[in-house]
Amino acid sequence: MIGALLLSSVASVRRHLYEIFQKLHLILAAMLIAVIYLHSPSKELLASPTVYLLAAICVHIFTASLRLWQILYRNVRHRAPLSRVTVQTITYKTSLRDTPLSDAVHVHIRPSKPWKPQAGQYVYLCIPGASHTSFVQSHPFFVAWWYRDAEGDVIVLIVEKRKGFTRDLFQHASNDVDLRSGMRAIVEGPYGKELDLESYDTVLLFATGMGIAGQLPYVTQLLERYQSSGVTNRRIALFWELDSESKCSQLSRKTPANNQPKSTRSLGR
């Protein structure tokens, strides 16, 4: 069993079969604890080594309960049982024509219980209606920016097309952002900690491709705080490596009419 745990945790297995690895890892870990209990000489719960197994199980149950509570708190609200999600096609606009990007979309989320988004935050997103198997899948994405419309706060994620869940999301992409008729979603989080960059004179940010989603909120936030509370940053430089010019449109912000994104306002100052 230890061998199976070891083999299933090899980096290449994890990378290629992540969903299977995740579930298998949990099952094997639970089986390992059960087998160790059977193997242990003492079956008394409060005697060594059984007490450590009990502690491991309690720790697991405690964190699982906290997670469940957090998911329920974030997603369950009277008359708004789950968060709403709309997948929006990103369009690269030139003077000649508009070309939709084939490898990235914006995901607009209206959380049931909004929070104050901060740089460095990411959420786990589960959209049961995206495909047949998506109800058991939950994937992490950085919060790229956020805005407020007439009905509340909306957070935006930039999702790159890969395999599985992200590929399924593309089938639901449209040009409009209509969160009322959007899909139901379960948002878990926000997680992540903000780096304290305000005390530095010069801030250099580096991003490659989709990594811009993690860096953009820092630029937004530093500019906002520079205007509001006079933080000490004198220079903010963002270096973004792109495969093609069309990828710049990942940052194009199309929101419903009369809804000005907060971060656009601050960037425009």
């Binding site: 069993m1 230890i2 061998g3 199976a4 745990l5 070891l6 945790s9 949990l26 870990a29 390992l32 604890i33 087998v35 160790i36 059977l38 193997h39 242990s40 000489p41 060594s48 080594p49 450590y52 197994l53 502690a55 491991a56 199980i57 720790v59 697991h60 964190t63 699982a64 906290l66 997670r67 957090q70 786990y124 992490p140 989080g189 997680y191 992540g192 900690k193």
Partner: protein, 184 residues
């Protein structure tokens, strides 16, 4: 010194503390701030040399934690272990103790966020915990097999075989013998 003299000294100390408290607190604050700055600059932020860490990101602080954990395990593993029976028992118990923090691994994001750790650092800690548990489990099994205590007629013995991986058994013949017992 009698009681009154002790009282006089204590009163003097209190008065001195009253006058110097502001400066003492300031000095403590500066010293702590300097210590924190040194820790951040020299240990917390600098990365381990890339020949050691490869393409992974690992700061000196992370590496220090991991080294302390591994060294602590090695010490607990080897200290006062005089025979194979003690090694079997010790490795089994330490392996089980290490399972407790390992159980936090399923909800890594939540724990890392609440503790203010970076996810990468936490994942590395989980990985090292896992490696150490596996190594200890294998040592436990190998030592148990070497001491010929494996009895496959009992649930405990079968569980031992299930915990271990076949590759760590001493020989192919021994493996065949164990499986024939299991079938019988």
């Amino acid at each position: 010194m009698d009681l009154t003299q002790w009282y006089a000294v204590a009163l003097g100390a209190l008065v001195a503390l009253l006058f110097l408290s502001h400066r003492i607190l300031l000095m403590i604050r500066i010293a702590l701030s300097y210590a924190a700055s040194c820790l951040l600059k020299r240990k917390y932020h600098p990365q381990v040399h890339r020949y050691v860490r490869g393409s992974e990101k690992a700061t000196l602080f992370d590496a220090g934690l991991i080294v302390a954990f591994v060294v602590g395990n090695v010490i607990c593993f080897t200290l006062e272990v005089k025979d194979v029976a003690t090694l079997v028992k010790r490795s089994g118990v330490i392996c089980t103790i290490n399972l407790v923090p390992l159980a936090l691994g399923e909800h890594m994001n939540m724990v890392a966020s609440w503790c203010g750790l970076s996810l990468g650092a936490y994942a590395r800690i989980h990985e090292w915990l896992g490696i150490v548990v596996i190594v200890e489990g294998l040592v436990h099994t190998a030592a148990g097999a070497a001491s010929q205590k494996l009895d496959l007629h009992t649930t405990s013995g079968i569980a031992t075989l299930a915990v271990s991986r076949p590759g760590c058994l001493t020989s192919e013949r021994q493996l065949t013998r164990y499986f024939s017992r299991l079938v019988l």
